[in-house]
Symmetry: D2
Subunit: 260 residues, 4 copies
Amino acid sequence: MTGTWKTAITRIKPNEVRLRGYCIDELMGQASFAQVVYLALKGELPSPDVGRLMDAMLVSSIDHGVTPPSTQAARIAASTGAPLNAAIAAGVLSINKHHGGAIYDCMGTLAEVIRRANEAGQSLEAAGEALVGEYKAAKRKVAGFGHRVHTSDPRTAKLLALAHDLGLAGQGVAAVRAMEAAFAAGGRPLPVNVDGALAALLIDLAIPQALANAFFIMARVPGLVAQIYEEQTREAPMRHIDPRESEYDGPEPRTWRSSS
Amino acid sequence: MTGTWKTAITRIKPNEVRLRGYCIDELMGQASFAQVVYLALKGELPSPDVGRLMDAMLVSSIDHGVTPPSTQAARIAASTGAPLNAAIAAGVLSINKHHGGAIYDCMGTLAEVIRRANEAGQSLEAAGEALVGEYKAAKRKVAGFGHRVHTSDPRTAKLLALAHDLGLAGQGVAAVRAMEAAFAAGGRPLPVNVDGALAALLIDLAIPQALANAFFIMARVPGLVAQIYEEQTREAPMRHIDPRESEYDGPEPRTWRSSS
Amino acid sequence: MTGTWKTAITRIKPNEVRLRGYCIDELMGQASFAQVVYLALKGELPSPDVGRLMDAMLVSSIDHGVTPPSTQAARIAASTGAPLNAAIAAGVLSINKHHGGAIYDCMGTLAEVIRRANEAGQSLEAAGEALVGEYKAAKRKVAGFGHRVHTSDPRTAKLLALAHDLGLAGQGVAAVRAMEAAFAAGGRPLPVNVDGALAALLIDLAIPQALANAFFIMARVPGLVAQIYEEQTREAPMRHIDPRESEYDGPEPRTWRSSS
Amino acid sequence: MTGTWKTAITRIKPNEVRLRGYCIDELMGQASFAQVVYLALKGELPSPDVGRLMDAMLVSSIDHGVTPPSTQAARIAASTGAPLNAAIAAGVLSINKHHGGAIYDCMGTLAEVIRRANEAGQSLEAAGEALVGEYKAAKRKVAGFGHRVHTSDPRTAKLLALAHDLGLAGQGVAAVRAMEAAFAAGGRPLPVNVDGALAALLIDLAIPQALANAFFIMARVPGLVAQIYEEQTREAPMRHIDPRESEYDGPEPRTWRSSS
């Protein structure tokens, strides 16, 4: 019996694997992995510019050192002797509302700003200012703004500049800028962080909010792999892992210009 | 207290995030995600050609429909109401020796063929033939050869051709070809499958065998995300999920030529 | 530095392990595991009768054959070669709102019936009837009633009878009975199922609703272990696992009277 | 279609749930959860004495404070907002060779001592002394002996005494005692720890070595639940969790004599 439920992702036939209609072997060598991730999620291949933005977005979140809880959980699991996939899973299970989840929450906020502006015929600035006021009155934090370490996150600046340069900045980017301006106008400047920038771009790429957390996970899994592998190969098992006691001893600062 | 343990992956300073020495914001927009995955794992940026091969390798394994056990486990978890990250974790936990693990096992076999050839001053063909004979005598399967569905897997052909065209095919590719020839010579042709091709390329990229399974996981996570999201949005909860009863209803076969 | 955060569960000193104040070695041999589970969660040892009810509640949910999604996910992971703990984790990740979660939801419903009755000076019957009416009008299902397989679940009857006999049936049991009566009065009898009975007893034991799902998980993990071990020892790896194709070949029906 | 694969654990019929042949509702109220865990794993109900030992074994490992890696991983996941089941899974994934795994390894060692003694017609003492000598020569640690915190673990003493008093101490207990004596005779006394005691008892209960890790997991899951729930209810999200900075503030030392 076949045909009782449907899937629109991949069709397998003998000697043929098609993702969203395209032969995977045709995509290989032509499309970047980031482009094919977009295809898998959205059902259509991105334009080259959208593909380039996807690459940049995924690169922005690949790793953030040893302090994120997902990294700690993955290293702890690895330290007890977990195989690599189990340590990855422990890390992925630690990516939730309070770690990685700001992308999801900020997408919701930006969508609300955009909705209100459209419905009321308001500017995004006015709608953003109103929402910032409401959050302030309710003593609620707005996800996507401010950072524990970075006052001016270079990843944020690059993401927003890139979207602008590629002509892909839309209402999402405008809304996040409007919110940032509203914070500054309110006397307590709070810069967009990398989660806020990703939220803005995901809105402008029309990627569903339900995939916000997944986007972060897809980007971070390779970083977790690097961290787990380092734990497995550099450290003795069952050590106490305190991220505050770590010291970087990798390559010195260097720059790169791609020849591609 | 700092400095009691070392990490060589990422250095975080206020307003600066460096991966293996490079500012992440410098990589964004220039390097593909696949190139930065390579950087994270190997410590050095790949050449453009190696980056292109990495992209193709990751693309090759992004999804294989609804039958793989990792996809089934992820869909089952999603069907019970699991959040996306938990469903991903259930999928990742189902990528082990018997699913995805052929890459690891085949890397071991190819490394053994290469080692024997080098030590004995033999050709890879001779060493491969000897090893195939030993496996046959022991009635053991050789991982990386043969496929349940595909007799001539188009992903395999593309991976090996691409490595050849980019000048990146080395002893790994030669060894897998030698093994394939040995099977054919033994009267029971067994084609290289996509796991075998990936194993050969991972050897030629000098990526450690311990990361073989992780490579597959990094490639497959976005496919799992697409599958989980489809389950969450198209199906009622708690259904009985039989992959044999599924039918593809996505885009018709189509072709693509990148303008990039 | 010590003392920056607090824990009230276990105190470890050299040669002394105290759980909630009691030496674990004093509990061993005297208290049942179920009693100590209660102590761990609630902070106090249960009376012998409460301990006996806890044992019965955990026993009621230890296994339900090969069809539950948690069992399927655990067997699939095991079939790919996952170690036992990873297969358990895959199973636990499949215990959510739609599988196991009825206990949580039903606790909420019963608490609402009790609250309304108390606030309005109503009988539980009247409050239950009103709530059943509201759910019917909203075409919402009430968790904890009805079962796919069982019309009169023997585990339900035993749990409720035991609570009654031990003098532990309180407002929770009364509320679930009131709801059942309301369904019957409405012309569509819908029996309490095992989730509904557990929900009633958890309320009467004053175990927080937030632990409802955890209660089911604690009970089911040993069942998952048995299922995973059977998969590992009786079946070949990477088989297609269809629970509808399974057949029981264990011990014939038998009865037991404890001598304890 | 039915009957293509077999299961010997649970048979479900309408209004009947039988575990290993026994109606679950018959077991409820009569058998302790620990007894039914034994039934699920071994296929037969334990004698009351074996049931009592099972209870004590599970109680011995229910929790060991905030330092074990499984507890840390579970708390970290909880701190990021993970639902309870995902935090449990993160903890379970951190129970491996180097944490919890000593039970498995020690079972292997004890089985080896017993096998050698039986084959050579040696005493367990002689076989144990030889094995300790071999491990010492190879500078390998013997799992199940010595503890980071406890020099004389009260749980060990209680487990072994209980097995002795119940007449259940067999070759496993004798072998672990022989090993302990061999360490003492070698001039470096190394007491049996709780893992070693559990290993000895699992051998004497004829529970397969493959279930050693699972036994620890079944015992520890309720402890993880208590820890996760405490993290969720007492702490702010996304805190840095250092177990060395914790302080116990639960009930004062107290004693208990069961009236059951």
